[in-house]
């Protein structure tokens, strides 16, 4: 009803300036990172003098980095596939099924979301070790699938809530079985939510460190490859790959945001997702 945009009354120059400062704080380090990826003299010192794409060239020639990228992609895509199926079922279960331990189930699913990554990572390590499974990309994949389940469930659950139930009822009324209804009505309605969740899982999996740290075998994922190199020392090549990661993440997240607002509207949710 209110057609007035908030803040029509008083201007707040102090608040605006402060907000600008906060944004600067959030973005300046990344800006520095990007600039110095182009600096011939490498990381550090001021001001950056000669700009060059040399470090990027060096990056593209670096095969072990790209091996780790491939590993990360494998794990991420696997996590997306696994998670989407599980998450879809979990969201449907939370929404429709009644069973006694439902609230416990809900809490358990959401737990990795709120616990520090180290806890989930260690627990899974103990589990994997207990079964005698060797650490490898497979164990990393298991870890991501589990940890990111919570993130995607909340996401999809929100999308499910916004769906018009009457459509399913109409479908049943017209003679379709629940199975048919699921494929013809429910799933298409959730299409956008599924894509959004998938994007989210993918991005988070590509960046995941805390849980991966403990489940890693011999093959590195991208973040851990970078991590390993960092232990040896800072090189501008790392700036270069970081810049690329930043750019890719930004694009993915902006796409995700567009899809999401189309499904559940512009209302900001209170959900929190871990890095």
């Amino acid at each position: 009803m209110s057609r007035v945009a908030r803040g029509n009354s008083a201007r707040a120059p102090v608040l605006a300036a402060f907000s600008l400062l906060v944004f600067a704080f959030l973005y300046l380090p990344i800006a520095v990172l990007v600039v110095y990826s182009l600096n011939q003299a490498g990381v550090g010192g001021f001001p950056p003098r000669k700009l060059t794409l040399g470090w990027y060239r060096q990056l593209f020639a670096d095969s072990s980095i790209w091996d780790s990228v491939v590993n990360s992609l494998l794990v991420a895509l696997g996590a997306v596939a696994l998670s989407l199926v599980l998450v879809l079922l979990a969201a449907l279960a939370l929404d429709r099924a009644e069973f006694p331990e439902k609230s416990l189930f809900r809490r358990l699913v959401l737990l990795p979301l709120v616990l520090p990554g180290i806890i989930t990572g260690l627990s899974l390590l103990l589990f994997v070790d207990g079964t005698g499974m060797p650490l490898s990309l497979l164990t990393v994949f298991l870890g991501h699938g589990t940890a990111l389940l919570s993130v995607a469930t909340t996401e999809l659950f929100a999308g499910l809530q916004k769906m018009d139930r009457a459509q399913e009822e109409a479908s049943l009324d017209l003679g379709a079985t629940p199975w048919q209804t699921f494929w013809r009505i429910t799933l298409p309605n959730l299409k956008l939510s599924l894509i959004a969740s998938g994007l989210l899982i993918f991005t988070l999996s590509m960046d995941e460190i805390a849980v991966t740290f403990f489940l890693l075998g011999r093959s590195n994922t991208l973040p851990l490859e970078i991590w390993a190199r960092l232990r040896r020392g800072i090189t501008p090549e790392i700036n270069a790959i970081s810049t690329l990661i930043f750019a890719a993440s930004v694009i993915l997240i902006l796409i995700w945001y567009q899809i999401r607002t189309r499904t559940i509207g512009k209302e900001p949710s209170e959900l929190l997702e871990r890095p």
């Binding site: 608040l15 550090g44 180290i118 806890i119 629940p178």
Partner: protein, 281 residues
Amino acid sequence: MYSRTYKIIVSAPPLLWVSLFLLLPYALLLAHSFWIVRDGVIVHQWNLGNYGKLLDHPVYAEVFLRTARIAASVTVLSLFLGYPLAYFMSFHARIRKDLLYQLVIVPLWVSYLVRGYAWKTILGSDGVLNGFLEYLHVTKEPVSFFLYSPFAVILTLTHIYTPFVFLPLYACLEHIPHSLIEASHDLGAGPRATFFRVILPLSVPGVLAGATFAFVLTLGDFLGPMLVGGPSSVMIANIVQSLFGTAYDWPLGAAIAVCILLLTVALLVLTELLEKRWAFR
């Protein structure tokens, strides 16, 4: 409307997965905390030795308290930065609000590693900040305490967790019906009185949620100290990580991890109870 078969098909796989890969692992973590290491091998001998060690040796309590202090600092600073931003965006941003919101979430998703690394390059002795200060002739020599210090850890973690604090806060502020603000003005309260009497109290659930998340996640953070911290800023999760690494004492590590877990759960339960008491809707 949904048959029993439907409900079983839908609930079973996630339940199974969660039991196998969450419930069981957490149980294993708990179990390990009661076992010990002997001659480089984990022995399943049930005892409270690990917990005893934690209580006896003051170093653990010290590090724990230090971690709690850092977590508290990060939380407070994040709130200090995040609240005015959320307030400004919710009440003064008008058309650009959507764009600004996206600008705030983006850093949230950009890799932790990338952001931590960025600070590493800025704060180092031959880093950008020192270079900048020398360029301006503010300093003659590189300042060393910027990096590998609690200062660096707090700064970096604040950078990471400010958007975390922002999100639930902003959502909460956005949910305050505009008619309440108008009603407050209508009854004679100016902008400042309206903020303290109406907006602030109604934003408390958002503040609690954001603060809890920032605190809990900082508490269990081990990457930050490893990237930008030094010996004086080792946090409790670093000890756990080394116990699972080179120091090889999984049971002791598990015991500390269980403590972190319990503290986290306790804080979350507390916050939930507080939120229920403050819930007005």
